[in-house]
């Protein structure tokens, strides 16, 4: 019975209603979660589906954020141009960096993704004329959302609430596209490569080419998330591409469970909420985070969603017996 409820639709509708709850804080949190969920889901295309551990996924998040911010702030381009451009630019960089990364395996692959990400960070940090250097690019403008006033009920909302609705719809579309990709024949090829790259190779799959394609697609969606985050954050800064950001998204993905499509989104939500809650009590957030990770890795290696799915199965089996 639980399976019959269209959970994704229910959650989307509940999320749509957040602005009318009236709290600026909840809208802020929900926007944060939606964007990071897309970021984590894009990483899982590599981690959970293709079996590639990237330690440098923040590079593409950062490239997307800077591309969008530079186009909107410096060149006065509309959001409708800067948003897809951010994804394409991130994908283009992922294609170039990935070309070298997929030539290596396992830990060497991971280290090279990290190396490229640090190069991106260093460029953002130092290229003062374009990226604003260490100071970043504050005051990235909101997209023009005056058209929303034409939709009944949306005209009276605050700018932040309107932007949240825009984010929610764009993230939902991007996630739907990701979902299509992983369940397509292309997605099955990636699963096959993760299960056993050698076997995939001798049934005729050009493994490197598929890995590179997955890397570029993951970069594209990370770039879209970055573009949204730059606007949400009202500014773009070099630490968007810093290795701690890569670690953060990796933790979200593993926390939620990389074996399930929605795992990373759940991970993004739980980590963001926990962070908010716990930092209001203690400054030792990293200590708590570390403890959570230890418990998780030993007790629930499938992540939160993996544990829930296993528990659900146990319940139905008992119900049937």
């Amino acid at each position: 019975m639980i399976n019959r409820i269209p959970w994704v639709l229910v959650i989307f509708l509940v999320a749509l209603w957040v602005p009318w709850y009236g709290s600026r804080f909840y809208t802020f949190l929900a926007t944060d979660i939606a964007i990071l969920a897309l970021f984590a889901l894009s990483l899982n295309l590599l981690l959970g589906y293709t079996g590639l551990v990237s330690f440098g996924h923040a590079a593409y998040f950062g490239i997307g954020a800077y591309t969008s911010a530079i186009l909107m702030k410096t060149h006065g381009m509309p959001f409708a141009v800067s948003f897809p451009a951010a994804g394409l630019m991130a994908a283009a960089f992922a294609l170039v960096f990935g070309y070298f990364c997929v030539r290596l395996t396992k830990i060497y692959f991971a280290m090279l993704t990290l190396a490229f990400a640090q190069i991106v960070w260093a460029i953002c940090f130092k290229w003062n004329d374009v990226t604003g250097g260490e100071q970043g690019m504050p005051n990235v403008p909101y997209p023009d959302m005056s058209w929303m006033a034409a939709i009944p009920g949306l005209g009276g909302l605050r700018l932040g609430d309107q932007f949240y609705l825009l984010v929610l719809v764009l993230v939902a579309l991007a996630v739907a596209a990701l979902r299509r990709i992983v369940s397509s024949p292309f997605g099955r090829m990636l699963t096959v490569i993760r299960e056993n790259p050698e076997r995939a190779e001798f049934i005729g799959i050009n493994v490197r080419r598929y890995q590179l394609a997955a890397f570029a697609v993951a970069g594209f969606f990370a770039g879209l998330a970055g573009a949204l985050f730059g606007i949400f954050n009202r500014g773009v800064f070099p630490d968007f591409a810093y290795w701690t950001k890569s670690a953060e998204v990796l933790i979200m993905t593993i926390l939620g469970g990389m074996g399930h499509f929605w795992g990373p989104a759940v991970g993004a939500m739980v980590l963001t909420l926990l962070n908010q809650q716990i930092t209001s009590y203690t400054e030792y957030w990293p200590l708590i985070l570390g403890s959570i990770l230890v418990i998780l890795l030993f007790g629930f290696p499938g992540g939160i969603v993996g544990a829930l799915v296993a528990a659900g199965r146990r319940l139905t089996r008992r119900g049937n017996a």
Binding site: P185, R188, M189, T191, V192, E195, N196, E198, R199, A200, E201, F202, I203, G204, I205, N206, V207
Partner: protein
């Protein structure tokens, strides 16, 4: 006789440990050739060398007149050589049908094989089409692995110890099925430890020992001459 596949003095090593010390053999189109020998004599390594999974350090792998040594495995597969590895591992997370479908899409090599024809040779797979491959029995996995390889329309099938670890009844059925593939004109290179399975199928045999060819000749010779068989294959 121009061979479909010929190995000329292949030498292969894993790191510092050398396994093949100059293997030469030939397979003509339509033949079933068997590599016989105990565990560790280099049967699997010979197959891996042909497939490009382990690159020979010396020697030539000649496929239809061209040297393919050093080609990546996916190119070898697309050239028409299909490997059924000894661990017969399927893609466990995919269904039976998806396993076959993925192989066809991977290779995109035109030819007579499609899902329906694989089901005709292995009717059991049709019943199991929607089952997750990881839950199949050993014999069913072996059928699926062979079927998956056929989806690429190979001209040469490399079968690495297909009977290993299967119950005698299952082996008998498998023998029939592989025999049927041979009837249909597929060229087969078989690696086996035991003589039962191999001598019933093979036209010619190469007996390997310590990475070299110890004996080669028609399978009938070994079938009939028990003394020779014991001398070559005694443990």
């Amino acid at each position: 006789m121009s061979a479909l596949l010929a190995l000329h003095d292949i030498q292969t090593a894993y790191g510092l440990s050398r396994v093949l010390f100059g293997i030469s053999l030939e397979i003509a189109a339509g033949e079933c050739v068997c590599l016989l020998g105990r565990n560790g004599v280099g049967k699997t390594t010979t197959m891996r060398s042909i497939m490009g999974l382990t690159r020979p350090s010396a020697g030539r792998v000649v496929w239809k007149g061209g040297d393919i040594a050093g080609w990546p495995p996916h190119r070898v597969a697309r050239a028409g050589i299909g490997l059924v590895p000894e661990d017969r591992r399927v893609f466990a997370e995919l269904t039976v049908w998806e396993n076959l479908d993925v192989a066809q899409r991977a290779c995109r090599r035109p030819g007579p094989w499609n899902v329906q024809r694989v089901y005709e040779v292995f009717p059991k797979l049709r019943e199991l089409a929607d089952r997750q491959a990881g839950f199949l029995s050993g014999g069913e996995q072996q059928m699926l692995t062979i079927g998956r390889t056929l989806m690429c329309n190979p001209e040469l099938l490399l079968l690495d110890e297909p009977s290993e670890g299967l119950a005698p009844l299952v082996v008998d059925r498998l023998l029939e099925q592989v025999g049927e593939l041979k009837q249909q004109g597929l060229t087969i290179l078989l690696a086996e430890q035991g003589v039962d399975f191999s001598l019933r199928l093979a036209d010619r045999v190469y007996v390997l020992e310590k990475g070299t060819v110890r004996h080669s000749g028609p399978a009938s010779e070994l079938r009939e001459d028990a003394v020779l068989r014991d001398r070559l294959l005694a443990l």
